[in-house]
């Protein structure tokens, strides 16, 4: 270590003390970004295992990490089926939220009267907790899948609607004038000016909606229970709880969390790919 520290100063005479300092700080930051969370995870799992063994906690109260891992491996086939089911509802709801949210935003943007008429109701739908609407939905909607989709959609569409609405209205006013001077039609203004301006806002709303649609799907499962369509992760958690199979509860929970992370990461990558050429938020940190 001391050798490596001494050499660069001697050979790279164009780099002064400040730059070396900065480079070192950047290198440490780069490693720490990954290493620290991993260390924290290892420490907490070790601590968890130690508490369970040291206190001889019975596994039906708190299983050790080894048992949770065992459950994840043993019940993998069942859990992965459940994950696919929950994932399908989540993604479908997200898709519908995008179509519904962005579509409504465009409609509202094109017609002020429509916006004045319906926007308050969109807000009311949003602020009413989905848990309290879900039981009603399952009374009136026969199909379990449709009911679950509706629940997930209800929580997920609003962020898309509100952020897209904001984006459509955030057009640079000089560009708006320019389009008017050039005699752009309403459609041209929407297509070439408002939609591209709204894209970063829309993608921000989409990231939030991704997480919310998972929450919506989980809530819907808990309310709907099982019924002909197989069982999702949330239902598995509930069911394992009834059987005091705490290890499986943790295993299913880990899968739900992993799904949430996956959705967020996928949407972040999508957002980066769409914006990287022009938007400030996607500029790489080096430039």
């Amino acid at each position: 270590m001391s050798l490596a520290d001494d050499q660069p100063i001697a050979t790279l005479d164009t780099r002064d003390e400040d730059e070396i300092q900065r480079a070192r700080a950047a290198r440490i930051e780069r490693i720490a970004k990954w290493a620290l969370p991993v260390i924290i995870m290892i420490l907490s799992i070790a601590g968890w295992a130690w508490i369970v063994t040291a206190n001889e906690i019975p596994h039906y109260i708190l299983p050790g990490p080894d048992r949770v891992w065992g459950s994840l491996v043993d019940d993998w086939a069942m859990l992965i089926d459940a994950a696919f089911l929950t994932g399908r509802i989540t993604l479908l709801a997200l898709l519908l939220a995008v179509i519904g949210g962005a579509g409504l935003a465009i409609l509202f943007n094109q017609s002020r009267m429509l916006e004045l008429s319906f926007y308050p109701y969109a807000v009311i739908l949003q602020v009413t907790p989905v848990v309290s609407i879900a039981p009603l939905i399952f009374i009136y909607v026969d199909s379990k899948v449709a009911g679950m989709l509706l629940c997930a959609w209800l929580v997920a569409f609003f962020p898309v609607l509100s952020s897209t609405t904001l984006g459509l209205n955030s057009v640079d006013h000089n560009l708006r004038d320019l389009f008017r001077i050039y005699g752009a039609t309403r459609w041209q203004r929407l297509r070439y000016l408002q939609l591209p301006s709204a894209l970063p806002y829309f993608l921000g709303g989409l990231k939030i909606a991704g997480g919310l649609s998972l929450i919506g799907a989980v809530v819907a499962e808990l309310v709907a229970g099982t019924g002909g369509i197989g069982s999702g992760l949330a239902f598995r958690i509930q069911e394992a709880g009834y059987r005091l199979n705490i290890a499986r509860m943790f295993a299913a929970l880990a899968l739900v969390a992993a799904m949430g992370v996956f959705i967020f990461a996928a949407l972040s990558i999508l957002s980066h790919l769409l914006l990287r050429k022009w938007h400030e938020s996607a500029l790489s940190r080096e430039t």
Binding site: D177, R180, I181, Y182, Y192, L193, K277, W278, H279
Partner: protein, 264 residues
């Protein structure tokens, strides 16, 4: 080549293009942005609207470009086609950040229904005129402030408009860049022979660029007087250092001081 060269006749022999007839613009019933403005714009004129903030320069441009309508008076265009094509350059480059340089210049064509392939040569040619032909596929954020302004100018001249409106286009740039863009703008004008209305509050810019300076006063916004700068184009660095230039600048400064309400 779509960008054609229009011949510019000497002052006094030019055909009229546009007339503002006793135009008033009043906001909210009592804020007089512009009072009784009468101005004839002729083909080939390079007119500067010079005046302090609040003198109605920008209001005049917005009225001419039909973004707002006069409270009283009329704006009359020569010919049967009404306003026709306009080119506009704002104080900000006003480029679409999601579009490349070429796509930005394509905009006025695109809005009149022309495909890219159809006008590709025109786009290339105007970009060559402003010296940016190598930056066809660059995005605005990759360009400097001066380069963005050149793209904006290229877009304004691309459709060969009857009139180009420029609203303090170089005010936000540093002095050196502004100098260079002033020279380039005149070179461009000599090449394509356009008609320009140029809003500025720089005496030196107005004298260097234009052959007519309309001096305006504030509260209420109005035309105070008009000066002619009869120095021939092309104008270059030797004009900038000539006694003639200094004399014109002195006259314009005096008029501007009067417009600001100070004794000349």
């Amino acid at each position: 080549m779509a960008v054609r060269r229009n011949d510019i006749k000497p002052l006094g022999q030019r055909a009229p293009l546009l007339r503002l007839n006793h135009v008033d613009k009043i906001f909210n019933g009592d804020v007089v942005a512009l009072r009784d403005m009468t101005l004839q714009v002729n083909q080939g004129d390079f007119i500067s609207l010079l005046g302090p903030s609040g003198c109605g320069k920008s209001t005049a441009l917005r009225l001419i470009s039909d973004l707002m309508h006069p409270t009283r008076g009329r704006i009359e265009w020569e010919g049967d086609h009404g306003r026709g094509d306009l080119g506009v350059v704002f104080q900000e480059p006003t480029l679409m950040p999601w579009a490349t340089v070429a796509q930005n210049v394509w905009l006025p064509f695109r809005l009149s229904g022309k495909g890219y392939a159809e006008v590709k040569d025109d786009i290339l040619e105007v970009l060559r005129l402003v010296g940016l032909e190598k930056f066809l596929n660059a995005y605005p954020r990759e360009l400097s402030g001066g380069m963005k302004m050149r793209v904006s100018i290229a877009r304004a001249i691309a459709t060969n408009p009857r009139l180009i409106l420029m609203d303090e286009p170089f005010a936000a740039l540093d002095e050196i860049t502004r100098h260079k863009l002033n020279n380039d703008l005149l070179r461009l004008k000599d090449k394509i022979g356009c008609t320009v209305i140029f809003v500025t509050h720089s005496v030196f810019e107005s004298v260097f660029l234009s052959d007519r300076i309309v001096v305006m006063a504030a509260r209420p916004g109005r035309v105070l007087t008009e000066l002619e700068v009869d120095a021939p184009y092309p104008r270059g660095e030797d004009f900038r250092t000539s006694n003639e230039y200094a004399a014109h600048a002195r006259r314009a400064s005096e008029a501007l001081r009067e417009a600001m309400g100070e004794p000349a």
